[in-house]
């Protein structure tokens, strides 16, 4: 659909080069996995592999189903109806996106486990005294993990579904009502399906890569297995093999996501289509809608944040507050620089590969964004190895022999590079969807008028996709702020982010010490999310 533009060779080479650099950590992992494991693989197949795969699949299916339920119905309500507080609720729907899943898992475990307040109160009320006397669902279980992950991940589906529902033309809605069919089941759901599938694929990738929640719940997924093999059997080779194996899941999800994008590809050049009318609701119906929407918000945000708040108040002291603010500054700095870098590279890769319509380049840059679905620590190892090679290459050019002063290992650069590899997919997706809505005619016109390729990009494309760039940047910003495993391993000396600071306490199950920095992660993530919602809303008007 995009015109083939000449004189773009240099740009293409640049993007090829970038893609290779971004792929190199994944390639390093692949290379490790070719090593000898001395029969470990047989042991894995005989004992735990089936369990790992089964748990991973069940977790993925469960989260996909529950987060769809959370995201789709609420998106329909908000997209189609107006009622008291509907605008506030729309905003609140996104708040769980600021909550890292592992923190929500900590909070819920503390609350719902046998020794937690809920069960203690129950036992006191009913004068039960041992676990055999009653049934209460175990929070540290597959079901618990599905619940926790769905509660924080549904906003991905909600956001995409809401946008799709809002773009349904009024004429189609009129037809469904004319035939007396359900506008949700017969029209909304089919039209929004590609968007929903894309959202579900994103959610599933998050699930595959999750370590914090499954570790805390001792749920033996592939990701947890990778760590058992690596740390327990001292075999990074077998761990890399397991990681490569789980890559199959990632590729499957990626294909799903790409296919769903093809399904919703359109160039909206006419503005004549009437936007659907938003219906007013009052009374019980309005109350019912409020209630439905508030359920997932409560699960993913209101309840966990209340638990954290009550924990934090218990262990509050001035030194701990001051310390948290210093760390907050660090966190904001890396998140800002990281998201800026991600969006810059993502914009470059997507615009060049898309506008030149180079299919190979598109596949290449898409592949380089698969870091998103790798477990963070494993990806971090790929990053370290790659950076180690970079340093060795730099040394080759170091003719002055002052080699002790210039290397990137252990600097903030490594961390930023790691964020780039991990979160490129987020920026990539945002920009791609923005670009697909712009018409290629404009680029044709610009090129026909003799404007250079780079001139066209800066004058035409970038201004058009600016909202997408900002939206993607905000998402990446929040993601980096929540990121734990890579930051933990790759950071420079004496450098803490809120996530790593929280972890050192949470790792020891010291909930009252962990709760304050945990709350700050969430609160600091709220601002960009509210901002993001503003941008997205102004797009419809």
């Amino acid at each position: 659909m995009f015109p083939v533009v000449n004189n773009t060779l240099l740009w293409k080479i640049l993007v090829y080069f970038l893609s290779v650099a971004l792929l190199s950590p994944l390639i390093s992992l692949l290379l490790i996995s070719f090593g000898n494991t001395h029969g470990l693989w047989t042991h894995l197949v005989e004992t735990v592999l089936a369990r790992y795969v089964m748990n991973t699949i069940l977790l993925m299916l469960g989260v996909a189903a529950l987060s769809s339920v959370f995201g789709i119905f609420t998106a329909w309500i908000i997209a189609r109806y107006r009622f008291k507080f509907s605008k506030v609720i729309d905003l609140m729907m996104l708040l769980p996106a600021a909550c890292p899943a592992y923190l929500v898992a900590y909070a819920y475990t503390d609350f719902f486990e046998y020794a937690g307040p809920i069960q203690v109160i129950l036992r006191n009320l009913m004068s039960w005294s041992s676990p055999s006397e009653y049934f209460f669902p175990e929070i540290r279980s597959l079901g618990g993990a599905i619940f926790v992950l769905s509660s924080v991940l549904y906003p991905y589906i909600y956001l995409l579904a809401r946008t799709a529902f809002r773009q349904i033309p009024e004429s189609l809605l009129e037809i469904t009502s004319l035939y007396n069919k359900s506008s949700f089941w017969k029209l909304g759901l089919p039209i929004a399906r590609p968007a929903i599938v894309a959202g579900v694929a994103l959610v599933c990738m998050e699930v595959v890569s999750d370590f914090g929640t499954v570790e805390y719940f001792s749920l033996e997924t592939l990701t947890l297995g990778i760590f058992n093999v690596w740390i327990g059997m001292n075999s990074i080779t077998a761990a890399a093999q397991l990681a490569t194996f789980s890559f199959i899941f990632i590729i499957a999800l990626l294909i799903l996501e790409i296919k769903s994008r093809y399904g919703r590809r359109f160039n909206d050049t006419s503005r004549k289509q009437r936007r659907p009318e938003i219906l007013n609701l009052k009374g019980t119906k309005a109350f019912f809608c409020c209630f439905i929407c508030l359920l997932p918000v409560s699960f993913g945000f209101l309840i966990p944040i209340s638990i954290l708040l009550s924990n934090a108040l218990g262990g509050l002291s001035w030194p701990s507050i001051l310390e948290s603010f210093v760390i907050l500054k660090n966190t904001l700095l890396v998140s800002f620089v990281g998201s800026l870098t991600v969006m810059f590279i993502a914009t470059l890769c997507v615009t060049v590969s898309k506008i030149t319509d180079d299919k190979k380049l598109q596949v290449f840059s898409k592949l380089s964004a698969t870091g998103y679905a790798f477990p963070g620590t494993i990806l971090a190892i790929g990053v370290i190895i790659t950076v180690g090679y970079f340093d060795k290459i730099f040394l080759l050019f170091d003719f002055t022999n002052s080699n002790s002063t210039f290397y990137i290992s252990g600097s903030l650069f490594v961390l930023i590079f790691a964020y780039l590899i991990r979160f490129l997919a987020v920026g990539y997706g945002a920009i791609l969807s923005g670009l697909e809505k712009t018409s290629p005619n404009l680029i044709w016109a610009s090129r026909t008028l003799g404007i250079s390729f780079s001139g066209t990009i800066t004058k035409i494309t970038l201004p058009l996709i600016r909202p997408s760039i900002i939206a993607g940047g905000v998402l990446v910003f929040v993601d980096i702020m929540k990121e734990l495993p890579m930051t933990l391993l790759l950071r420079p000396f004496n450098f803490d982010t809120l996530a790593t600071h929280t972890y050192q306490f949470a790792h020891d199950e010291l909930m009252s010490e962990a709760s304050l920095p945990a709350l700050m992660i969430i609160l600091a993530g709220l601002v960009p999310i509210i901002f993001l919602n503003k941008i997205l809303r102004s797009n419809y008007k």
Partner: protein, 338 residues
């Protein structure tokens, strides 16, 4: 515009990261900063040498290896023998000679090639509910596989380093087959799926979910003196059992926290100074006072608090034997689903 600013920014990042180069020790730590900071502060106050820390539970050995000669790290600190052994196994540690370390650390708690050194000891002990388990009914770690305790035991996952090391010590004593039978018996006695850390097991005993758990001894101290009144109550509900104490028995399994100097350290002198400092009486006492661990230095007595829990005989199995068996232990753990 933006294009030019970003590379400049990175140049700054790299510049600052490599700027500092006065007397200092750069530490890769598997131990949480809030636990090692008191030691490091005492060291800095005494010597004027600055310390810098990166803390991570996982992956630091891989980081050190990948960084190779360019690594800024000088000293590695870990909380168990398994991880120390991995560093040694990957050839990441320097062999150092220090009369002081030789004198302060008994030989079964350090490596033969002088690459790693034990700095404190922790015993893996059994705790039982005061209310529900009669004193004396559990004597040995082997007793935990007795069907009598069906649905009575809580445990953190077997694949955690502390449990893996414990199982390795049982393999060393009884051989692979018997160790597996023991592990299977233990798993069939569990009151709930293995989960949580040692602290969480005690909490479960207090609330009646189970009656017996295996914990590292210092957790008991941490709970007993916790700022949180609830946790102090948990500790009160427990009896401590140092396992395998009879004359014919091997003693309780102990693990070490320890450290070693990085092979390509650029501050070796300072790093060795810090290691030596950690085995000196001041620091050795601090291990007991702050974290309820036992000193490795034979000239130092355990703290009064630790003594009040009772004296015990420790398993003198060379600590690196445990590390070598850890792979086999993990395989058993996978098979029995601990």
């Amino acid at each position: 515009m933006l294009k030019f600013k970003i590379p400049t920014f990175f140049a700054f990042l790299i510049f600052f990261a490599n700027l500092a180069h006065s007397a200092e020790v750069n530490i890769y730590s598997h131990r949480q900063p809030f636990l090692i900071n008191p030691f490091l502060e005492a060291f800095s106050n005494k010597t004027g040498i600055k310390t810098n820390v990166v803390y991570s539970t996982k992956g630091l050995a891989q980081r050190l290896k990948a960084e190779g000669k360019n690594s800024p790290a000088d000293l590695i600190l870990t909380v168990d023998i398994g991880r120390l052994y991995i560093y040694q196994d990957m050839g990441l540690l320097a062999s150092i000679s220090s009369l002081k370390l030789d004198k302060n650390i008994p030989s079964h708690l350090k490596s033969i090639d002088n690459t790693w050194f034990g700095l404190s000891k922790r015993a893996r002990i059994i705790v039982t509910s005061k209310e529900r388990v009669p004193v004396g009914s559990i004597k040995n770690i082997e007793d935990l596989s007795d069907p009598r305790w069906k649905k009575k035991i809580c445990s953190r996952p077997g694949s955690h380093v502390y449990n893996r090391a414990l199982l390795a010590s049982i393999i060393a004593e009884h051989g692979l087959d018997k160790a597996e039978i023991w592990a299977k018996g233990l798993v069939s006695n569990l009151a709930r799926r293995p989960q949580g850390n040692d602290r969480a097991q005690v909490k479960a005993i207090y609330h009646g979910q189970c009656d017996i758990a295996i914990i590292n001894n210092y957790y008991f101290g941490k709970l007993k003196y916790s700022e949180d009144p609830d946790q102090r109550e948990w500790a009160k509900s427990l009896n401590l059992v140092f396992p395998n104490q009879a004359k014919s028995e091997r003693g309780a399994h102990v693990n070490i926290s320890g450290g070693g100097v990085a092979k390509y350290s650029k501050n070796k002198v300072e790093a060795i100074l810090l290691l030596e400092f950690l085995t000196d009486p001041t620091a050795q006492k601090l291990y007991g006072d702050i974290n309820f661990e036992y000193p490795v230095n034979p000239s130092i007595n355990a703290s009064e608090e630790l003594k009040s829990w009772g004296s015990f005989k420790e398993d003198k199995l060379p600590i690196d034997k445990i590390a070598k068996l850890s792979g086999e232990a993990q395989k058993i753990i996978d098979r029995v689903g601990w």
